[in-house]
Symmetry: C2
Subunit: 221 residues, 2 copies
DNA sequence: GCATATTTGTCCGTATGTATA
DNA sequence: CTATACATACGGACAAATATG
């Protein structure tokens, strides 16, 4: 059995195409605000319009597409307000994660491993991988809450953030300064110093938000 | 213009039927785990199966339905673990809301108004209304974050919680003890006493979670 | 501002695979 | 194991809304 009949489709066409389009969106293959024609997309992916519409419903509910009645589906174009909101969500959830951190939690080990991987990726100048690992690091942090719903919600805002990254030009240096910050944050948590960990997290989020906002404003001008 | 072309359908059939079925789910018109046949539902609501499938996608992504591949859509049947998870999410988000509370925020006025309404509803023995007002009170609390995404995410877990209520027998007394707790919580916030407010919130959430869990276990045996 | 073309929203019929009696 | 029921997915159709010239 390759697939347990868990809770949602793994083999469904809708699920597969959704994953494909989501990947394309996150890698920045589409322009922000670009219209996604039903007919064109359907034939391009070799599926029917009805099936594609279900995909659009899913991606719209995840904030990656924007659905306008009688006009169709458009690639989401997060603006400054959206970025600010995304980081507000991150702040609330991740502060909760830091406070929920219990020593010996498996997610902590995973965070150490991811931090180490990020170091080697930086040594290889593989910035794309550094970015992915950074995301995974913070996803693992939220796993400390042991809450499927918090993790799922966090995944949504992270996907939106990756959409923003994909719409920028140079994502390379965006994650560079944060490798070290992640490690120090992790050390605070390991030591059980919640106050210091919260401060480090806040510093990280503020710094990250500022650089994303700056890059976004640079892009639009 | 009655409808601004905002972001999502307001007049769409999918949106309308989704709202209808969501109302039915929340009022407990369906049994937990009950299968929702496409054919039957489609003819019952006078819509096509294609349209209904889009509705199912939406409600599944909101946690109100559970989609099983090749088996169809079922009414979500949240168990004890789900309730615990829901309250974990509430704790994280609402603690964030308390800490984000700024004096003079319009949401605070709304909370006062809702608390007052709840008092009169209790005087009228309108327990259904008391429950709704309690939900609205906590929704308003999250509005303190000024974060559309946090509010949307909070609405999702609240909808799931109402689904649980709808599946229980007597929801009447479930909200009674919390009217006073909401007021004292509000007083702490108004005074700017964040620590006391956090403690009051935690007391409320623990108490509420316990009673819901107890009622749930009573129902199943 | 109007006529036309395009696209979405919605429906129907049907074929195929999967699950269940 | 067979048969039935149902979800999945497709393609075509048409009205209504929108975009285009």
């Amino acid at each position: 059995m390759t697939n347990k009949p868990g809770q949602d489709d793994e083999q469904s066409l809708v699920a597969k195409i959704s994953a494909d389009i989501r990947r394309l969106l996150i890698s920045g293959e589409f322009k922000p605000g670009e219209k996604l024609s039903e007919q064109q997309m359907a034939s391009q992916f070799g599926i029917s319009r009805n099936t594609l519409r279900e995909v659009f419903r899913l991606l719209s509910s995840q904030g990656l597409l924007t659905h306008i009645p009688n006009r169709g589906a458009f690639v989401a174009a997060p603006d400054e307000a959206d970025v600010i909101d995304i980081y507000r969500v991150r702040s609330v959830i991740q502060k909760g994660a830091v406070q929920a951190a219990s020593p010996g939690h498996p997610a902590l080990a995973r965070m150490w491993a991811l931090a180490a991987e990020a170091e080697t990726a930086r040594a290889d100048d593989d910035w794309r991988r550094v970015g992915t690992l950074n995301m995974e690091f913070h996803r693992a942090m939220v796993e400390l809450c042991d809450s499927p719903r918090l993790s799922a919600g966090f995944d949504l805002v992270l996907a939106e953030l990756r959409l923003v990254f994909g719409q920028l030009e140079d994502t390379s240096h965006l994650h560079e300064p944060y490798i070290a910050l992640n490690v120090t944050l992790l050390e605070h948590m390991e030591r059980g110093d919640t106050v210091a960990a919260l401060a480090a997290l806040d510093a990280y989020l503020v710094k990250s938000e500022r650089s994303v906002l700056a890059a976004l404003q640079r892009r639009r001008g």
